[in-house]
């Protein structure tokens, strides 16, 4: 049987960081784990993939080039979850296109009350988990995760991993996951890319 066309493909991508171009491709349900020291261009790679920075080379979703998408349509399918989430309204609910299922919330230790909370009240760990949830409700095809568990304790880290793995299992989707934690990368059972 012929190999399927990759879901997400990157050809000779050069980011603002400079250096050699990136080439990789991902098939449905796969994870690419990215590691490397600070300043090695991990976040800039994710920003280029989300088309938030100027870049060279080509990126394809289902064989269709980035340039053929309207920018906002591309970013709704290729969603970047930044290391530090930013919030522009005062109440949590105003940042969600739709509210996630109650079960998903309780898996992460939230009740539906959380949507009425003022953003100021959130701890950094809560911000990080809710920042991920507001991205997941968009049902992205490619999740770009910039250290999604950096502010979390071990218990919450495992919950997030489980949630993301379940998402990837149940959707035609892939994730590109920046992680400093080698044990985590092992748990994700992923392809690896190390930046230097």
């Amino acid at each position: 049987m012929l190999a399927e066309q990759p879901l997400f493909q990157v050809k000779n991508l050069a980011t603002l960081h400079g250096g050699a171009g990136f080439d990789f491709s991902l098939h449905p349900h796969e994870v690419l784990a990215i590691s490397g020291p600070s300043g090695s261009g991990k976040s800039l790679l994710l920003r280029a993939l989300a088309d938030l920075d100027k870049h060279q080379g080509q990126v394809f979703l289902n064989g269709q080039s980035q340039a053929t998408f309207k920018p906002a349509d591309w970013r709704r399918k290729i969603v970047l979850v930044a290391a530090e989430s930013a919030w522009w309204n005062s109440v949590v609910a105003d940042h969600f296109q739709e509210l996630p299922a109650e079960q998903t919330l309780s898996e992460l230790g939230f009740s539906t009350d959380v949507f009425r909370w003022p953003v100021d009240r959130l701890s950094s760990g809560e911000r990080q988990r809710l920042g991920l949830l507001r991205a997941l409700v968009l049902k992205p095809t490619v999740l770009l995760l910039d250290e999604p568990t950096a502010n979390l304790d071990e218990n919450n880290t495992l919950k997030i991993e489980k949630l993301l793995q379940k998402y990837l299992r149940n959707h035609t989707a892939v994730a590109i996951w920046v992680s400093h934690d080698s044990a985590q990368r092992k748990r994700l059972n992923s392809k690896e890319l190390t930046l230097t």
Binding site: A50, D51, L52, D53, K54, K70, P71, A72, D73, R75, R76, K77, V79, L80, V81, A82, E84, S85, A86, W87, W88, N89, H95, Q97, R134, A135, L138
Partner: protein
């Protein structure tokens, strides 16, 4: 007209007051004695010069003189808008955005005023056209400068919030909507305050002038109301155009937030 003409002695005496004030600032070591004196001198020279230029233009009555003076007024106002920005757009955009939005708003409102409302004969008569434009430009200049400054400053400070919205698939227009509203609000603030305070807290300058020149207070107040509405329209329209153009300019063709298009005056 029963206006009392001012003599050189009158002006000299008034100038003495400014000179006395400058002595006071020197004695108190406030440190702006020099700029106070220079500004006073500029006022005297610029206004006398303007008086003479306007006298010539009024008596010549040619449309091209009126047009030339208007062009100078517009270009200076455009320069002022740009000079008041903390983070202006770089290149020609900085100057062009303010100037063009002022041109679009002030001149369209001026045409409404001359052709439909005041209707002098001929319609471009300098005695009406130039003071009207001056008031429209002066006020829309303030509104546009404030709203553009607020737009670029807030975009700079809230870049993370803007990008967070882009990352969630909002288009550029949505991603900057909060900031655009803030910017427009701050551009409209001075004129709303001026309208609310008119006649109670302040006696507006034009009405004061007309009353001093012997116009009946009723006529003067009607003119002032007309002018207030016109400058509100010009100021608001100009701010809307400038903020819309400025907001778009903050994003490139792929709707990426492009703050490198601003320069900082830190």
């Amino acid at each position: 007209m029963n206006i009392i003409s001012l003599s050189a002695f009158d002006l000299g005496l008034a100038a003495m007051l400014v000179i006395l004030l400058s002595v006071l600032t020197w004695w108190l070591k406030i440190g702006n004695t020099r700029s106070l004196l220079i500004a006073g001198l500029r006022t005297a020279v610029q206004l006398l010069l303007l008086g003479h230029v306007l006298r010539l233009v009024f008596s010549a009555g040619q449309w091209y003189w009126v047009a030339a003076i208007m062009a100078v007024m517009l270009l200076v106002a455009g320069y002022e808008v740009n000079a008041r920005q903390h983070r202006p757009f770089s290149g020609w955009w900085g100057y062009g955005m303010g100037t063009l939005s002022m041109f679009a708003s002030s001149f369209s409102i001026l045409l409404v005023a001359l052709l439909l409302l005041v209707q002098p004969k001929p319609w471009y008569q300098a005695q009406y056209a130039i003071p009207l434009l001056g008031m429209l430009l002066g006020n829309s200049m303030t509104g546009i400068a404030l709203s553009l400054d607020r737009l670029t400053e807030s975009a700079w400070k809230q870049r993370k919030e803007i990008e967070a919205r882009l990352m969630l698939g909002h288009d550029w227009n949505d991603a900057i909507s909060n900031i655009r509203i803030e910017a427009l609000r701050s551009g409209l603030m001075p004129i709303i305050n001026a309208m609310a305070a008119a006649g109670i807290v302040s006696l507006p300058g034009m009405m004061t002038g007309q009353i001093l020149a012997g116009t009946s207070p009723i006529e003067a107040s009607k003119y002032q109301i007309l002018i207030m509405f016109l400058i509100t329209a010009a100021s608001g329209l100009g701010s809307v155009i400038a903020v819309q153009a400025g907001a778009r300019r903050l994003f490139d063709d792929r709707e990426r937030l492009t703050l490198s298009r601003l320069k900082s005056r830190d």
